[in-house]
């Protein structure tokens, strides 16, 4: 299990979701991806994308104007 960080700050949705989609495609099941974003929509869209594709959202929170979503890659 590896931990990765994705910087999607200053991108408007759905670009953070697309970046997550492309990053997850290169990761292995069980890997952890921490996403940093500034678009408030990321807090809704990244978890929604995870739900339809079977990945687990470990946390999704806003801290000082920055959105942080941590997910665990599911089985393909």
């Amino acid at each position: 299990m590896n931990r990765h960080v994705l910087d999607a700050r200053y991108l408007l949705c759905p670009l953070p979701v697309i970046r997550v989609q492309n990053a997850v495609a290169r990761l292995a099941p069980g890997d952890i991806l921490e996403v940093r974003a500034t678009d408030p929509g990321a807090l809704h869209d990244i978890p929604a994308w995870c739900r339809v594709h079977g990945h687990a959202v470990l946390s999704a929170l806003e801290t000082e104007g920055e959105m942080r979503v941590t997910l665990k890659v599911g089985a393909p």
Partner: protein, 410 residues
């Protein structure tokens, strides 16, 4: 069916005015003819370029499982949601595809603004996928899409919206995805007469032909007004359970949604694309005029969605945040632009796009002060930071409202 009849059939399907649904032959005779043609009518290949014939064979071979698979273009609106739902009801495996062009209207693009933060921030295409229980693949087509916007073969609509070229482009991308992933056909939520440019009876065959999807493109909401497509002829889907919607009325779609128990769905008034918006198109046209060529980068078209845009001189424009949300968003771009902000009074961040002389900077500072809390003050101190990072301060008199001509506003 003799050879001449087969050619007439192909012409009807791919460009000529289509026959009435079902033609004028009795149902039983049509079924018998279909049975004689076998499971895969040879007639389809008459119009297929060699490359596509190979692709057609490839996808057929890839689709040997009993459950057929379609990729549905999901915009996030009601029509595409219903089209996908109709396929699910027929037992088809459906996955959604959504293309991000950079011009897409998203609820939370507006939600950057503080005043709009109470609105739902959901991405409608993802929300639709969740409601339907299907996967959604969001594809970045920003670079490829530039050619559609800059050189539309079929021209623009009322504004800078190249709707027909756009639809052909998206169906082509969906066709490429279908072929790469072993899917059988493509589904869209198009309805004859729904849109004045891309969803007309005479332009639907254009989209099928120019996308290369041909008769693997199924429009479930109006399929019964169109010639049968491959999924219908092959019996993958039951044509009798498809629909014959036409025109701009939304009532049939709303009734179908109610029948499926779908009560919450997005209904964007101007479609899902900023290019159908007059003010946005004006700003894009201004950008091209100022640059002397039709060219843009993603950052340009994102910034067109945010702030007040004023062009006081031909060689520069000012992007002024309208509230805290836009201020925060524009802060992310400040290192790449000369930017201004009042320091003596609360006020907005303003970015300068273009080359501004010392005189221009003073004018920009007076404009920036105009939109802050110091607009009635005699003097406002404005910090001007160059792209390189050096900052200086200007003490300026804010422009009065009558000193800002209307034609500066884009």
């Amino acid at each position: 069916m003799d050879k001449a009849a087969r050619f007439r059939y192909v012409a009807s399907a791919f460009g000529q005015p289509p026959e009435p649904p079902g033609g004028d032959r009795p149902q039983s005779r049509r079924k018998n003819e279909r049975a004689r043609e076998g499971p895969f009518p040879l007639v389809l290949f008459y119009n297929y370029p060699p490359k596509l014939r190979a692709a057609h064979h490839m996808t057929s071979a890839a689709s040997t499982s009993s459950r057929r698979k379609c990729v549905a273009l999901i915009s996030g609106g009601l029509d595409s949601m219903l089209a996908a739902k109709v396929m699910l009801e027929q037992g088809i495996h459906v996955e959604g595809i959504n293309f991000y062009t950079g011009f897409c209207v998203e609820g939370h693009t507006h939600a950057i603004r503080r005043t709009a933060r109470a609105r739902p921030k959901r991405n409608n295409a993802l929300w639709v996928a969740e409601q339907l229980g299907i996967k959604l693949h969001i594809i970045d087509v920003i670079e490829e899409y530039k050619d559609v916007v800059i050189n539309p073969k079929h021209g623009y609509g009322a504004h800078l919206n190249p709707c027909l070229d756009c639809k052909s482009f998206m169906v082509r991308k969906a066709r490429e995805w279908m072929e790469a992933n072993g899917f059988d056909f493509i589904v869209t939520g198009e309805v004859i007469g729904q849109r004045p440019m891309s969803q007309r009876r005479d332009t639907m065959p254009v989209v099928a032909r120019e996308s290369g999807a041909f008769d693997r493109l199924l429009r479930p909401l109006c399929a019964r007004l169109l010639p049968p497509t491959l999924p219908e002829r092959e019996g993958w889907v039951d044509r009798e359970k498809l629909y014959d919607f036409s025109g701009r009325s939304r009532k049939p779609q709303m009734a179908l949604a109610a029948r499926y128990g779908l009560t919450d769905y997005a209904q964007p008034a101007g479609g899902c694309c900023f290019l159908t918006d007059e003010q946005y198109s004006n700003k894009l046209a201004d950008l091209w005029r100022a640059r002397g060529e039709k060219r843009y980068e993603l950052e340009d078209i994102l910034l067109l969605k945010v702030g007040r845009h004023l062009r006081p001189r031909p060689h520069f424009k000012l992007i002024v945040a309208r509230d805290d949300g836009e201020n925060n968003f524009l802060l992310g771009f400040r290192h790449r632009y000369t930017h201004l902000m009042a320091t003596s009074h609360p006020g907005p961040l303003a970015l300068i796009d273009g080359q501004a002389s010392a005189e221009d900077l003073e004018l920009a500072a007076r404009l920036t002060a105009r939109f802050g809390k110091g607009r009635e003050a005699e003097r406002v101190t404005v910090a001007v930071t160059e792209r390189g990072g050096s900052t200086r301060t200007l003490h300026v008199a804010p422009l009065r409202a009558d000193e800002v001509p209307n034609d500066w506003y884009l």
